[in-house]
């Protein structure tokens, strides 16, 4: 059996591992640490702002078809994006997570800042038109959510008077994980439902994204049945329960399919077979060893997770020292932090061909190395709001190619 090694345990790495496995390969996934999923909203963004100065697009797939050729979406094509999306939705549904969206319109999701964000695929628990929300309820004490701030922002956007409520969890556990676990207890969840029945019967209520790690949708339905209204989760600062929920589901799917996952293992270099990779050198604690493979998928993410590292004035891909699409002499960030044009360092990445093989001087560095997710160049996941979508779709392609299946 063909042996595929995936480096990185984020959205891209897990997706590539599952795809390669489903395509018949033997798959090992190595991860040095967590992906960014415990930080992100839980929504899979497809594409909202293709141009720095342009307006938001309302139909992501249509906009994807018009992207410049260096964009990862353009390299794999719109059909591959649709296939990846559908495959993702089907898989996570098996594990009780419903993601809504068809890529042809945007969802508007309310955030803990009281602002709206655009996204392509949204968890069921967030898929409510913000204009429908009547009440914002804090679940406390939780410092990363201010019902007042959210209601204020929402009132400005919808010109509707939005009320606030505060529900105190018994014997207050204080961090997000503790609160979510507490709220998932049947008694506490019932108490919350009854509280809403008294204070907000039949209304649409926004709450911090603290529904359970495991059965969020079931919990939502059971609380809703008690107060006859609708609950909406509002994503905010980390740790992100919706992000962790998604990652638990993907990990379980990978393990069920027989992917071998090794944590705290860092890839540190190539086993160079002259134009082909024989595998990678890895480090576990202080020990170095070799992992051989027939194909390797690089899904190491970006600056936040160490897929790209920096010193004064230089950015580097640390595992294979692959060339990055970063113009020499450019500053990493623009002078304004919240510049709508984004920041040069965040849009740099590995340059690849249409088979997602990293290139040096226009030819593949290794014919059996494929890259996917945030490590790719040619796009800015943060500014464009395309990180989740690019991770899923490029990983789907990379996983299949690594397993030896033609595109």
């Amino acid at each position: 059996m063909r042996r595929v090694l995936v480096i990185g345990g984020g959205l891209a790495g897990l997706t590539a591992a599952i795809e390669a496995r489903e395509a018949g390969a033997e798959v090992a996934l190595l991860q040095a640490g967590q992906g960014v999923h415990h930080l992100f909203s839980g929504c899979i963004d497809l594409l909202a702002y293709p141009q720095p100065d342009g307006p938001a697009v309302e139909n992501p797939l249509e906009a994807i078809a018009r992207l410049a050729p260096e964009h990862p979406y353009a390299k794999i094509g719109g059909d591959a994006v649709v296939r990846a999306m559908v495959g993702f939705q089907r898989r996570v549904t098996e594990h009780g997570l419903t993601y809504l969206g068809d890529g042809r319109h945007q969802y508007r999701v309310l955030t803990a800042m009281g602002t709206l964000r655009l996204t392509g695929l949204t968890p069921l628990t967030m898929a409510v038109d913000p204009a429908q929300i009547d009440v914002v309820c804090s679940i406390g004490p939780y410092r990363n959510f201010s019902a007042g701030l959210v209601a204020d922002g929402l009132s400005r956007l919808t010109k509707k008077n939005v009320r606030t409520l505060a529900f105190e969890v018994a014997q207050g556990e204080l961090d997000a994980m503790g609160l979510a676990a507490k709220l998932a207890e049947p008694a506490e969840s019932a108490r919350f439902g009854d509280f809403l029945a008294r204070e907000a019967r039949g209304l649409t209520v926004a709450i911090p994204a603290l529904l359970g790690l495991e059965n969020a949708e079931e919990q939502k339905r059971s609380i809703e049945s008690r107060f006859g209204g609708v609950l909406v989760e509002v994503p905010g600062l980390p740790p992100s329960i919706p992000g962790l929920r998604l990652m638990h589901a993907l990990r379980r799917i990978a393990l069920d399919r027989g992917v071998r996952i090794a944590q705290n293992v860092r890839a540190v270099g190539a086993l160079d077979g002259g134009g082909v990779l024989r595998g990678v050198k890895v480090r576990v604690a202080d020990l170095e060893r070799e992992e051989t493979a027939d194909a390797v998928v690089l899904a190491t993410g970006h600056l936040v997770t160490g897929g790209v590292v920096s010193t004064r004035g230089a950015l580097r891909e640390p595992v294979f020292d692959l060339p990055l699409s970063f113009p020499a002499g450019e500053s990493f960030f623009r002078s304004r932090f919240l510049d709508r044009a984004g920041h040069p360092a965040l849009s740099c990445g590995v340059i690849v061909d249409s088979s997602l093989r990293p290139l040096r001087d226009q030819s593949p560095v290794y014919e059996n190395l494929f890259a996917c997710g945030d490590i790719l160049g040619g796009f800015d996941p943060y500014r464009e709001r395309s990180g989740g979508g690019v991770a899923l779709s490029t990983a789907t392609v990379a996983g299949r190619l690594a397993a030896g299946v033609a595109r």
Binding site: F40, T115, G148, L149, D152, F332, L338, Y382, R383
Partner: protein, 512 residues
């Protein structure tokens, strides 16, 4: 409400000190600061409460002033000063004669000093360069310039002074040649205030202001840049044993260390840019003092200007030392009603304020002596602890959910306590200056949100858009981070950008 005995222009340490000194003497004071207290050189200085050792060879008078004021400030403001002590270290290549000159200078100025063997010095400060050849212990200390300014302002207010931040003086009111008041602008518009004496304590901004009153105050502006590292390399202030030069001082500041400074002449105190070559010097010289600098993470950098008074042999003999000058513009320039205070150091602010207040009282015809040298800033209260110890003690009783900023241990209560001091439009930076919110390693990543939520919940956003308030704060805070953006700091900012742009959509105004 628009008539006072004296108006003070500038809310740096000098202006705040003058306001307090005058208020203690019963003079009715209005202080006007264009931005927030400590906006100028004060909030961008090194935070060294000089023992005087730095001047012991070159400038004996300044050295004497420093040691005497150092002792006074420790006594009257114990909560603003961390009694770190200091070391002077000699490295291979430093002129060995300087060490002996320095000891002689210290003896003459009355600065306590004690020689330490290299082994003893390294035992006290294991992160120092192990190649150090000689060391001297001196009574330097670390001072919080923001807190010291605020505490002077608060004490002044308790004695009847009025302190207005976000109020910029735009012109003087004249009666013939005499200055009889000022015109100033805040968010609501323009206002006037009158007083028989106006004190110009506007630091590096003084020259153009003085010109509006028709007087010339010759200042040369020297920019100094500094870098804050996210580790406390040493528990003591570290001086290099050589004539004062670039980047020869490391000062512990809470969990961080500050290395400085450079010295470059500039044309204006606004829009200071930190040049890459300055950073290179600071980091390289820092690594010479403590090798860990080479691999540590730079949190932010900042620059301030020292206004150096350029006229020698000034006619007005009052209170003049080589460090600072009190100028009575009536006798000097024929403009009655205006007094300027220029030059000096944070360490000697109290003495400067006293000399200035003496001059003001003389002009007002009041014979009251100053009493700031033996009046604690927190009069009538038991002597407080150094503020970081107080915070640590508070940790024991603060519920984790009440902590707004973990890096700097700022609970909700500490923020609530200063809300009444905020003037003008809501500004998270004003909260930051008073509580240290967002000054630690995450540089506001998580606590900006929580600080904003608190302002909102306390009704302080007053109909203003929360998104606009936090965007302004995040953009402004980034100014000091941009020059040191590499390694872990770049990683941190990538994450912060993802929170506030990708997740919250603030780069697009948040209205999708």
């Amino acid at each position: 409400m628009d008539r006072f005995d004296a108006i003070v222009i500038g809310g740096g340490i000098t202006g705040c000190g003058v306001a307090r000194d005058l208020a203690l003497r019963g003079v009715g004071v209005l202080l006007l600061e264009q931005h927030d207290l400590a906006h100028g050189a004060t909030g961008r200085c090194h935070g060294l409460l000089h023992s005087g050792v730095r001047y012991a060879v070159k400038d004996p008078i300044a050295a004497q002033e420093c040691i005497s004021e150092n002792r006074i400030v420790r006594r009257i403001a114990p909560h603003c000063v961390e009694l770190t002590g200091g070391l002077v270290i000699e490295l291979p290549g430093d002129d060995p004669a300087y060490y002996h000159q320095l000891r002689r200078g210290c003896d003459e100025a009355g600065i306590e000093h004690r020689a330490l063997s290299p082994a003893d010095a390294l035992e006290l400060e294991p992160n120092l360069n192990p190649r150090l050849t000689r060391a001297l212990s001196v009574p330097d200390a670390s001072v919080d310039p923001f807190l010291l300014s605020q505490e002077n302002a608060r004490a002044a207010e308790r004695h009847g002074a009025i302190i207005r931040t976000h109020s910029a003086v735009i012109d003087f009111i004249r009666d013939g040649a005499a200055v009889t008041g000022v015109r100033f602008a805040d968010d609501e518009g323009e206002h006037e205030a009158r007083a028989p004496v106006t004190v110009l304590a506007a630091g590096g901004w003084g020259m153009p202001l003085a010109a509006k009153a028709g007087v010339r105050v010759g200042l040369s502006l020297s920019k100094g840049s500094l870098v804050i590292m996210n580790r406390r390399f040493c528990d003591r202030v570290i001086n290099r044993c050589r004539l004062p030069a670039d980047a020869d001082l490391v000062i512990p500041n809470g969990p961080t260390s500050i290395i400085g400074t450079t010295s470059i002449t500039v044309a204006s105190p606004d829009g200071l840019v930190i040049e890459p070559r300055e950073l290179a010097v600071l980091l390289a010289e820092g690594a010479a003092l403590a090798p860990g600098f080479a691999t540590a993470r730079a949190l932010r950098s900042y620059a301030g200007v020292r206004p150096l008074f350029q006229e020698s042999g000034d006619a007005d003999g009052r209170g003049i030392t080589r460090g600072f000058f009190v100028l009575n513009h009536a006798t000097r320039d024929g403009v009655p009603g205006l007094v300027s205070i220029v030059g000096g150091k944070l360490t000697t602010y109290r003495l400067m304020a006293e000399k200035t207040a003496d001059q003001v009282c003389e002009l007002l015809g009041r014979r009251v002596a100053g009493r700031t040298s033996d009046t604690p800033l927190r009069e009538g209260e038991p002597a407080p602890f150094y503020h970081r110890y107080e915070r640590l003690a508070r940790l024991a009783t603060t519920k984790p959910g009440e902590m707004v900023c973990e890096c700097e241990m700022v609970p909700r209560e500490a923020i609530r306590a200063i809300l009444s001091e905020l003037h003008g439009r809501p500004d998270l930076a004003d909260v930051q200056h008073r509580t240290r919110l967002g000054m630690g390693p995450c540089q506001g990543g998580l606590c900006s949100y929580r600080g904003l939520a608190l302002l909102h919940d306390e009704g302080l956003l007053a109909g203003g858009s929360p998104a606009a308030v936090i965007t302004r704060f995040l953009d402004q805070r980034f100014g000091g981070i941009a020059p040191v953006l590499w390694g872990d700091q770049l990683r941190e900012e990538a994450l912060n950008y993802a929170f506030y742009a990708t997740l919250f959509g603030l780069d697009r105004g948040g209205d999708a």
